[in-house]
Chain length 250, copies 2
């Protein structure tokens, strides 16, 4: 299916699937791109879970996250071999069977030509009832079952698929982020931050010490879907500081 | 406490805490080092969860993972400010209160000198009943509540603390890993892999396509706590291949 008007999602979860991630053999590389993409869309990523290539674990986790969030993304476990069981796991999460999709099978036959075997065609499996999401620029579809987007684990391909996510999904409103880098340590900042946090309950205030940087000691961040609330909290915070304690304002 | 005889743990989970990870502002950097450390110790990391700086979410997740695994590691949310609530979350997970630990308070006073305020002393909070784990080389203790190890989020400090983990914990037996890089795609490999997987149920066989590498197409991995079982599965797999299909054997 081609992108319709974007679907609105407020909250998201990600399920990262793969023994190689948990063993430390492979450095997980997809999450940060997904997180940045969702952030830019105004969708709040609320939870990430990393689990092994195990059917029951995938089915249980996908069912839980699908019920708790507007949209869920899986990464990994997509392919033809015995350890590629994400599609079966998603199918089981929704109590349906996996079936071969004819249009995907046709694309695989066109891509592999004479080398295409029944084993390659395992990559045409979809949960019964799934949609296929594409864009004009990326014809190879993403399998979407209800609110679960099944993304590949290979980082280069994962990143390509994020353009499809951007075309199909959107948050209810953008996030606004600002930050102040200060020369004060967190112990000094705490009473000032407590004042700002109490007076600006709609703004998410974060405090991040920078241990190995000479230019500042702590970065204080201000995040909200309400831009004017972010500006107000930041201004209130800066007003509590001596000018010499401010290294930069973003 | 100084390291006694290592404690034996078969399974582990990690709880990564921080809004900045979920927003994509910060690239999570601790997990891969934890995963490699546990792997080298022979401890199986079974599950990782990333959650925001929210007290109930931390308490709920720590309680669940603590019950389901031999050992749990948290990362992040340790410090003096309003968004540093991991200690309170761990305390709540076990139904105890957080209290100031006198020895930690003394260390903070010594480190900060005259600049030490009541706010800095929030970093001396521990769940009631916690132990403090150190080594001769790293005197600043890790707070350990039952089977939950509370690690800092700053990556440079997180990595230093892994030496304490290595001194205190050990798996029941080492993991053994081997791999074959092949010039076959996964569709071709599938029937061969199915044979090996069926005949070697004690070995975890993984298949990882390499999309953007000219030297091989798929890496097949063999993992088990039983080294001879790994060797047997690898040999059985190689015997099914044409020699020209093998790019390398590790």
């Amino acid at each position: 299916m081609k992108p319709p008007a974007p679907r609105i999602a407020e909250s998201a979860a990600a399920v990262l699937i793969g023994n190689e991630l948990l063993s430390g053999k492979v450095h997980e590389a997809n999450l940060v791109d997904l997180a940045k993409t969702l952030r830019a869309l105004g969708i709040a990523l609320r939870r990430v879970v990393m689990i092994p290539d195990e059917l029951e674990a995938i089915a249980r986790e996908v069912a839980l996250e699908s019920a708790a969030h507007d949209v869920v993304f899986t990464s990994g476990g997509v392919g033809p071999t015995h350890d590629d069981i994400t599609i079966e796991g998603v199918a089981r999460a929704f109590g349906v069977r996996a079936r071969i999709d004819d249009s995907l099978a046709g694309m695989l036959r066109a891509a592999y030509g004479d080398r295409c075997t029944e084993h390659h065609l395992r990559m045409a499996l979809v949960p019964d009832g799934a949609e296929l999401a594409t864009t004009a620029d990326d014809k190879w579809p993403i399998v979407v079952m209800k609110n679960v987007w099944v993304l590949p684990g290979v980082p280069q391909i994962f990143r390509m698929k994020l353009s499809v996510v951007r075309a199909w999904l959107q948050g209810p409103a953008a996030f606004h982020s600002r930050a102040v880098a200060t020369r004060l340590d967190e112990g000094k900042l705490k009473p000032l931050l407590d004042q700002v946090v109490e007076a600006h309950p709609g703004v998410d205030v974060g405090s991040y010490p920078k241990w190995f940087d000479a230019t500042y000691k702590t970065k204080v961040t201000f995040d909200s879907r309400d831009a004017s609330a972010v500006d107000a909290a930041l201004s209130a915070f800066v007003a509590l500081l001596d000018p010499g304690d401010v290294a930069s304002v973003e």
